[in-house]
Amino acid sequence: MIRVENLTKVFYPKKPKTFLSARSKASAANGAITALDNVSFTLNDGEITGLLGLNGAGKSTLMRLIYGLLHPTAGDVWVNEHQLSVAPNAARQQLGVLPDDTGLYKRLTARENIRYFGELQGLAGAPLEVAINQLIDWLGMETIAERRTEGFSLGERMKTALARAIVHQPQHVLLDEPTNGLDVITTRSVRRLLHELKAQNRCVIFSSHLMHEVSGLCDRILVIHQGHILADGNLDAIMDAGKATNLEDAFVNLVQATSKETIDE
């Protein structure tokens, strides 16, 4: 279970230098960007939650706040009983994260990449090797496991990164646009993996801007726009809220309604 409470993140432009006048300080504060504004929700175990939003809607910021590499301006995150601002390492232990556009160690083989992260998560010996082999099997990586990752295709890189993220079998899995730019076969194996994780009663959240993927996979959808959660519920609930018969139209209606409001203001 991941609980997000009143989470707000404001990015300030570069700190004004101390010798600047009071007026220029005030104008610098005006340039602040509110990436997330008072967001609250709870993600349940055994559910796949899709985070749907346009580019720059705040998806990655929300993810980064949940895994604690960005610090919230206000609010906090709980991973089960661990409060992130109090016990970040204990919280991280229960998270498996695939960040947006992550890189591999190119001089290590795929297996060594996965093993390194397993070890950093506290695994060792036979249980670690079993976990690695299982992931290699699930993701169909047998042919690339012993190759150095330099020169891997996007799909091969993504599979390795994904295996690396969940090698310690975390209760909570956060994936930032995991299927971005992948071919059909690879996308399918990622999808299969997500279903497998759900069957194991884990809490899965992934962000995407691909409608068909979200509608096909998710038990619950969060629509995020300009730092606000516009809608929260299963596919039917979102389509009701967006007054449309498919997710894409519903999403566009929701987003455009908000944009108009902000213009009217």
């Binding site: 610090h71 991280r92 960040p99 060594e112 992260f117 950093l120």
Partner: protein, 398 residues
């Protein structure tokens, strides 16, 4: 704590494997000692060669062509006793020197024998070409011998008349030559601590930048920092890798130096270089204290660099930090104060110099160098570890 050490070792093992597979950086790192020792040996050999050449001109017998040698047999005997090969020359000597057939010649005039016998002054002529610099040494020697014979005969004549020669020789100048070659040799030896310290600073620049700024640039840093591994363990594991690689590079350099000491004839420079294996081991101990600071500094700098290239640029500038005290002592070789021992780089340089050139050693000096180094390295590393999980380090500008 146990968990901390375990994570540290996991990180170090991974970085070590990564480094061993990074053939390009390895080659660069281990080429440096070869290059530095090569430059050192080459400059030593060059100075030895110069030294031998300048000695060759004085030790090779000086040939002097004399016109009318039979007029003054006493002078000729005196010159021959002093190692000058006297050759008879004919009346054309002047023209021959002019044409370059002879380097120089001494002309004894007709009737010199009679003048010598009666105690009159004789006018000798030394013919030479002043533009020929090669002859300066030989001419100087011949002239000096002629003057000393002159002084001798003059003294004998005065003595035979019952007068003390001291009356006409109120001054006697004795030459005390401080050979400049020896100084050059000393200069080369004194630059050795600088080479060693520079090696320590530069050996793992590429690796340290790769493990921090490079990791961020390849976007694997974020994933690494999401793991529950303590920041301190991550940083120390990486730092340990740099330290160990620096150690290996320095070991290679010292082995090469030991070989150089064994085969380069430093005795020719009048330098007594007797560096024992124990001395080299102690040099190693000193240099490792320097390595603690140098590698920690590499991490401080590269953690703030935006990219791998950026990091390398900053590290290039970092090299100037040790250069400042090193150049100061190179320009003022005599400068010394007790507080030098407390200054990083300077303290180590003094110790290495003492070890290689045979100065007085005290265990206290080693302790001082290590104490300062450990404190500084701990400060640098703590500071860097605190930065590691900050958003502006992970995501660049923010």
């Amino acid at each position: 704590m146990n968990n901390f050490i375990k994570t540290l070792l996991i990180v170090w093992r991974k970085e070590w494997r990564d480094a061993l597979r990074d053939k390009k950086s390895l080659r660069m790192a281990f080429l440096m000692p070869v290059y530095f020792v090569g430059v050192f040996v080459a400059s030593s050999l060059f100075i030895i060669h110069m030294n031998q050449q300048s000695r060759a001109t004085t030790s090779e017998p000086i040939k002097l062509s004399v016109v009318g040698a039979d007029q003054l047999p006493a002078l000729v005997i005196w010159l021959e006793e002093r190692g000058v090969q006297v050759q008879a020359a004919d009346e054309q000597a002047y023209q021959q020197v002019q044409n370059g057939q002879l380097d120089y010649a001494l002309i004894v005039p007709e009737g010199a024998r009679e003048k010598f016998a009666t105690g009159e002054s004789i006018e000798l002529a030394l013919v030479f070409d002043a533009t020929n610099n090669k002859l300066q040494g030989a001419l100087h020697f011949v002239r000096q011998q002629i003057w000393s014979w002159n002084g001798r005969i003059g003294s004998l004549r005065l003595l035979s008349r019952g007068i003390s020669p001291a009356i006409v020789n109120p001054l006697v100048v004795r030459d005390l030559n401080v050979a400049s070659d020896q100084k050059m040799g000393f200069f080369v030896m004194a630059s050795l601590p600088m080479l060693l310290i520079l090696t320590v600073f530069m050996a793992t620049v590429g690796f340290s930048a790769d493990m921090t700024a490079g990791e961020r640039e390849r976007r694997s840093l974020e994933s690494l920092l999401i793991t529950p591994a303590p920041s301190g363990a991550l940083l120390l594991g990486k730092w340990l890798n740099s330290l160990l690689l620096t150690f290996l590079v320095v070991v290679v350099e010292l082995i090469l130096l030991a070989i150089a000491f064994a085969y380069v004839p430093f005795k020719e420079l009048g330098l007594r270089v007797d560096v024992t294996p124990l001395d080299l081991l102690l040099v190693m101990v000193v240099l490792m204290s320097m390595a603690l600071v140098a590698t920690a500094l590499q991490f401080v700098i590269s953690i703030f660099a935006r990219s791998f290239k950026d990091a390398q640029t900053y590290m290039g500038l970092m090299i100037f930090i040790p250069m400042i005290p090193l150049f100061y002592t190179l320009i003022n070789p005599g400068a010394y104060a007790d507080w030098f021992r407390w200054v990083p780089v300077l303290g180590q340089q003094l110790l290495v110099k003492d070890l290689l050139l045979g100065g007085a050693l005290s265990p206290q000096a080693f302790a001082q160098a290590w104490l300062v180094a450990v404190t500084l390295a701990a400060l640098f590393l703590t500071f860097t570890a605190r930065q590691l999980r900050k958003p502006n380090i992970v995501y660049g500008a923010s």
